[in-house]
């Protein structure tokens, strides 16, 4: 494996790890349900993306072929993450989860 690939993998893994950690910190620190939803679905988008990219680089520099399955995993993740976030938010809205005081605007009932 070339030196360049190794540095790239290290950098991507560290970036991915840092963003995933920040997402987890956000989950603990943010004040209400809706804001907490942003932590894990968002910061982790980049986190998982970076980790997947490092995996692609690792396997393609080791085997000499591009790891299509990793790319597919990333694509599926990016397609399903917004759906689950949306369902969580919708469920919270229907249950009338309380929002933090300085929230502007209101969820609606219908």
């Amino acid at each position: 494996m070339s030196q360049f690939a190794e540095y790239a993998i290290c950098l991507l893994l560290l970036t991915g790890g840092a963003f995933t950690l920040i997402g987890a910190i956000g989950l603990a620190r943010l004040p209400d349900f809706y804001t907490r939803l942003h932590g894990p679905t968002k910061a982790t988008t980049v986190g998982v993306g970076a980790i997947m990219l490092s995996s692609v680089i690792y396997f393609s520099s080791r085997d000499g072929s591009i790891g299509i399955s990793e790319i597919l995993v990333t694509v599926f993740l990016f397609m399903t993450a917004p759906v689950s976030a949306n369902i969580l938010a919708k469920a919270a809205m229907h249950m009338g989860v309380r929002t933090v005081e300085n929230t502007q605007g209101k969820p609606w009932d219908q």
Binding site: F19, I22, G23, I25, G26, R29, L30, P31, D32, Y34, T35, L37, H38, G39, T41, K42, A43, T45, V46, G49, I68, S69, L72, F78, M79, A81, P82, V83, A85, N86, A89, K90, M93, T99, V100, N102, T103, Q104, G105, K106, P107, W108, Q110
Partner: protein, 162 residues
């Protein structure tokens, strides 16, 4: 009778078949057979969820749109990370976004984009598909959020689907 044996959405079937070949470890007899079964059964099972077929859209504009979304995800992730780590409290806000898009598939893509880009989650779409409720993590006023979504994401989608 023959309905049950057909491929209601040929493109979806083809994509599923190709994806299955990539996911399984090399193309073999087993992966082709299983790929065919999946390509037939998944569109059959999900057919009820497509009340009307999405009309053809200008798919060559998709890559440029995806590049923009990926770029935005990276930029906005740093903003959200900074906000999470800073001691300042976020200023969350519900924004009712008036939709210009009309097709369900286009609205789904827009809502997913909004949810993927950090700082905003789409919460609900009104029953008449006119208003999208968006939750912003940190916003000063709602008009800025609406303007940003309108110019960056909805305009290109409108061009794609008109």
């Amino acid at each position: 009778m023959f309905d049950r044996l057909s491929f209601p959405q040929p493109w979806l079937s083809l994509i599923l078949f190709v994806i299955w070949q990539f996911l399984s470890d090399g193309v073999s007899g087993a992966s082709v057979v299983l790929g065919l079964i999946l390509a037939w059964s998944i569109p059959q099972m999900t057919q009820a969820f497509w009340p009307e077929r999405p009309t053809f859209f200008k798919s060559w504009r998709m890559p440029a749109y995806l590049m923009r979304v990926i770029f935005d995800i990276v930029v906005a992730s740093f903003q959200v990370a900074k906000l999470i780590l800073s001691p300042r409290k976020p200023r969350p806000m519900f924004v009712a976004y008036p939709l210009e898009l009309e097709q369900p598939l286009a609205i789904t893509i827009l809502a997913s984009t909004i949810s993927l880009t950090p700082g905003t989650v789409s919460v609900d779409v009104s029953d008449d598909n006119k208003i999208l409720l968006v939750h912003a993590l940190d916003a000063e006023n709602g008009d800025d959020v609406i303007d940003a979504i309108r110019t960056r994401y909805e305009k290109p989608l409108l061009e794609m689907f008109e």
